[in-house]
């Protein structure tokens, strides 16, 4: 029996075995290579996706566990050509360098803001505790996150996407 997962609002059938990491299925079966597999051990956060709206490190989630659930990846954030508020804020602060960490960071923060739209700086930093960025030193990322806080923008981006 094959597995079914709702990936970026579309019901998909998974051919891989149920124990295959979700990150591998997203990348190799669905060509959603935005999700990065950097450590494969749950420590870097680059593979973070939303599972039923909550951030999860997809390298540690066997695809069998998301049967019938909603998975959102970084590819779902922009609607058409419109970036989410968080993505646009990252451009505003010139946060991006090599870019490898951003898919995970965006998904972590998108999930986080949908729960805590008014979070303060300390809470934002602790939300990012599981995401490694080796290039930027984090400040421009935190600044971007702070700039959209409270505006309801992040939350509406999530709604728009769901």
């Amino acid at each position: 029996m094959s597995l079914r997962v709702v990936v970026n609002h579309e019901e998909r059938t998974v051919a891989s075995a149920p124990l295959t990491p979700l990150s591998t299925v997203l990348r190799e079966e669905f060509a959603l290579t935005g999700t990065k597999e950097v450590c494969g051990e749950g420590f870097c956060g680059a593979c973070t996706v939303l599972v039923d709206g909550a951030p999860a490190v997809s390298c540690l989630v066997p695809v069998g566990l998301v049967e019938g659930r909603r998975v959102e990846t970084v590819e779902s954030l922009a609607v058409g050509e419109d970036l989410s508020a968080l993505q646009a804020a990252m451009i505003e602060t010139d946060a991006v360098q090599c870019g490898m960490c951003f898919p995970g960071i965006l998904m972590t923060l998108t999930g986080f803001f949908s729960e805590r739209p008014d979070a303060d700086e300390e809470e934002i930093r602790s939300a990012l505790a599981g995401n490694i960025c080796r290039c930027t030193g984090y400040e421009a990322i935190v600044e971007a996150a702070l700039s959209i806080r409270g505006a309801g923008a992040a939350a509406s981006a999530v709604e728009a996407a769901s």
Binding site: K36, V38, C39, D94, C98, C133, T136, G137, A140
Partner: protein
């Protein structure tokens, strides 16, 4: 008039796709028919290879090709060709490649690699530099005398892979003076793993007798040349292209996975992908080298440094790699910052049975600056002088002599120290936040350089009036290809940055280039591009002069038009010029080049140096405040301030981003990125669980000032800005922790256990028994100088 493009915070053109997950890095590439590869590595540090049998692996499912040392006859190196692709006869480090396999799936490739039979006979190993330099040490390269010398002039012997020296003035006399205080210190620094998020990865194919390699590298031309050398083919038979690179920091400044994939592609007739696992990256990264340093100075009561001598041992691991070259840098980093009456420095790359080390952002500079600045504070304590006053008195200024006798131009560090003082004086001290912990502060200086060197650029004017910049430049995240180069080209041709298309690196399309690293890309490619634009501009004006019936000398090129000076309404657009050129001169293009001017040392001063002097020095002043928790040994950085010499800021916001990122990497190096090697030569840290890189909660916003106006050979007076931010960080933190604790900090990283030791179990400064007290006793004899 368009707004000026130089000095403006232009956004990155690649940000949107990177934020949408659309950018396809090398690890995201591949295609129909692609095989996956795995490398079989040694799991001991030193052994004789008795037998390698690949036949059992060949029979495994899905296997399409297996290659071993028999397939790669060459050896490579920078000064001496000591490094084969696969271990031949002998294993020299834990993780050394023995064979590589390509199979239909990655799991099949890994299973087959494991099935290769490797029979080894363990040999004695030298894991540390003490062991490698001991009189009875095992020789790691028993055949070192027979290796091909690629660059002559260094001294070599046994486990000393390379030795470079600087001697200027009469140091013996300086130390013998009656009016000097002699201060001596020993320091030790650990390795640091670059850990870019994208591992070293490539996809190789073999078509029409040529290799085609798409790879995540900083040095496409070095990959081309090294792959050819190792495989024994012509460099021109290798083409290298580079998609977006997911971070490098020096790790990708040498070949890595490419020759394995190339061999497997030729053997199988299929494209082959090889990507290192995180564990392989931790075990075999070309870490920043660990170093042991002894430094001694003779200083008068009023603070004049009349003599200085030092020995720096750099652990190059099992093969020389970049380190013989980097021994050069000691002359400019440890020998930098201050005016010295006389100086002698010895810098050695030492072989050990550990993974080879390599380049890492401000290579060699981070630990030498740490040692020099801590030593400087010890001098100040010994002669009773204020550390800032001492620095002000002694920093290199206009006409100062460098350690190799080069003459510096301009007063740069002095005014930067002034600026730092203004910045720190304008804000309240953070001491109150120490809240019962030990509070300390330090201001330190640093000398670095832009590693200039050959670059080539072509600029093509397209029929639509835009231009395409064709170079071998690589975007690794620093923004030089995405921000500064388009800005420089647009400025030269009166266009907007959006009019400038950047061709990604392709060794078949663009001329030679050293690569991205050493802060060189904006400088070397910037000048080469500017030169190409001069030719393009000349051709545009020539065609326009016919169209406008005016002398080219009376024409200006701006805002996408050529107009007659003083008669702005008499103008033609660049696209119209391009269209006209198609039918008159033919399409317009220009080429430009740049190379290092090659500043010389004072004759007889430097031996074994691949660079004798700094063509383009760069300076930095850092200040930090720390709180040290005496109960846990944890160090919190309370404030961090940077004044950086940037020459001219092409894109100030992008430079600030580099400073923030570089300082944070430096905080990891100074405080908690610990690479330790066990007695068997295995690196203990196998992933991010144990290798602690800075996280969002560990860091703070860096306050920075961009110092402009220092002399520069760079385009529009710019200097590279991405490399130098990490230079002074360990120095600043270590000096501040010393200031807080009253103890002599002589080892980094300052992990909590180490800081606790310092506070509780401190037993005086360390001694390096493998460095002779008498400087000259360390030098290899004259007959150890290698000749090509």
């Amino acid at each position: 008039m368009n707004k000026p493009v130089i000095g403006s915070d232009l956004p990155r053109r690649d940000a949107r796709d990177k934020l949408r997950g659309r950018t396809r890095y090398t690890i995201d590439r591949g295609g129909l028919g692609m095989l996956h590869a795995a490398v079989r590595r040694s799991d001991v540090a030193s052994a004789r290879i008795v037998r390698v049998d690949v036949e059992p692996a060949r029979r495994m499912p899905g296997v399409r090709a297996i290659v071993t040392a028999d397939d790669a006859p060459g050896r490579y190196g920078l000064t001496v060709a000591d490094h084969p692709l696969f271990a031949v006869d002998r294993i020299r480090f834990h993780g050394e490649p023995i064979a590589a396999v390509a199979a239909e799936t990655l799991a099949q490739a890994r299973a087959a690699a494991d099935a290769i039979v490797v029979e080894l006979e363990t040999l004695p190993a030298a894991i540390t530099m003490e062991q490698a330099l001991a009189p009875d040490a095992p020789e790691i390269h028993p055949d070192w005398r027979d290796y091909e010398v690629l660059f002559p002039g260094g001294r070599r012997s046994g486990n000393v892979a390379w030795e470079a020296t600087v001697e200027r003035g009469d140091t013996d006399a300086a130390f013998a003076r009656g009016d000097v205080t002699i201060v001596e210190s020993c320091f030790r620094s650990g390795r640091q793993n670059q850990t870019p998020l994208e591992p070293r990865a490539c996809v190789a194919s073999y078509e029409d007798g040529r290799f085609f390699i798409e790879t995540s590298t900083q040095v496409p031309w070095a990959v081309r040349d090294t792959t050819a050398r190792l495989l024994g083919v012509r460099p021109s038979d290798v083409r290298v292209t580079v998609p977006a690179v997911g971070g490098g920091f020096g790790l990708k400044f040498e070949f890595a996975v490419e020759p394995f994939a190339a061999l497997l592609a030729r053997a199988s007739g299929r494209p082959v992908r090889l990507a290192n696992t995180r564990r392989e990256e931790m075990q075999t990264a070309l870490c920043r080298e660990n170093a042991d340093i002894r430094i001694r100075s003779a200083v008068t009561r009023d603070g004049e440094i009349v003599g200085r001598e030092a020995v720096v041992l750099m652990d190059c691991g099992a093969y020389g790699g970049e380190q013989p070259f980097l021994t050069t840098m000691t002359a400019h980093t440890l020998g930098g910052n201050y005016r010295l009456g006389s100086v002698r420095l010895l810098s050695r790359a030492v072989y050990t049975n550990t993974a080879p080390t390599g380049a890492f952002r401000a290579c060699n500079g981070t630990y030498n600056t740490f040692a020099l600045e801590r030593h400087t504070d010890e001098i100040c304590a010994a002669i009773g002088m204020d550390p800032i006053a001492f620095r002000r008195r002694n920093v290199i200024g206009d006409k100062a002599l460098g350690s190799t006798g080069q003459v510096f131009e301009g007063d740069v560090l002095g005014p930067m120290l002034d600026r730092m003082e203004e910045m720190t004086a304008s804000r309240p001290s953070q001491q109150a936040r120490a809240d019962g912990r030990l509070y300390g502060r330090a201001t330190v200086v640093g000398t670095w350089f832009i590693f200039v060197g050959p670059s080539a650029a072509t600029v093509n004017l397209n029929p639509d009036g835009g231009v395409t910049l064709v170079t071998s430049g690589v975007e690794i995240g620093s923004g030089s290809m995405m921000q500064s180069l388009p800005q420089i080209v647009a400025d030269s041709l009166g266009l907007t940055p959006q009019d400038v298309t950047i061709r990604a690196a392709d060794t078949d399309a663009a001329g030679y280039d050293v690569g991205v690293g050493g802060g060189r890309q904006t400088v070397s490619l910037g000048v080469a591009s500017t030169n190409a634009c001069i030719e393009v501009k000349k051709k545009i004006l020539r065609v326009a002069s016919e169209m406008l019936e005016a002398d080219p000398a009376d024409l200006v090129l701006e805002d996408g038009h050529v107009s007659i000076v003083g008669v702005p309404e008499q103008r033609v657009s660049v696209p119209a010029v391009a269209a006209r050129a198609q039918v008159t001169t033919g399409p317009i293009s220009g080429s430009g080049a740049f190379t290092a001017p090659g500043t010389a040392a004072m004759p007889g001063c430097a031996a074994g140096h691949m660079l004798e002097a700094l063509d383009l020095p760069v300076f930095a002043v850092h200040d930090c405040e720390v709180a040290v928790d005496p109960a846990t040994g944890h160090v919190e950085v309370l404030s961090y301030t940077v004044v950086q010499d940037v020459g001219r800021a092409i894109n100030p916001r992008a430079i600030r981003g580099q400073i923030q990122g570089g300082v944070v990497q430096g905080l990891g190096y100074a405080l908690h990125e610990d690479v330790s090697i066990d007695a068997e030569g295995r690196i203990r840290q196998e992933g991010f669980e144990t290798y602690r890189v800075p996280l969002a909660q560990d860091v703070l916003a860096i306050d920075c000032h961009l110092h402009e106006g220092a002399p520069s050979i760079g385009p529009l007076g710019a200097k590279g800005a991405g490399e130098v931010p990490i230079l002074n960080v360990a120095a600043a933190v270590a000096c501040a922790v010393s200031n807080a604790t009253g103890k002599s900090v002589d080892t980094i990283p300052l992990t909590p256990p180490r800081v606790l030791d310092l506070l509780t179990g401190y037993d005086g400064p360390q001694e390096h028994h493998h460095i002779a007290k008498q400087w000259t006793d360390n030098c290899l004899p004259d007959d150890a100088v290698c000749v090509a």
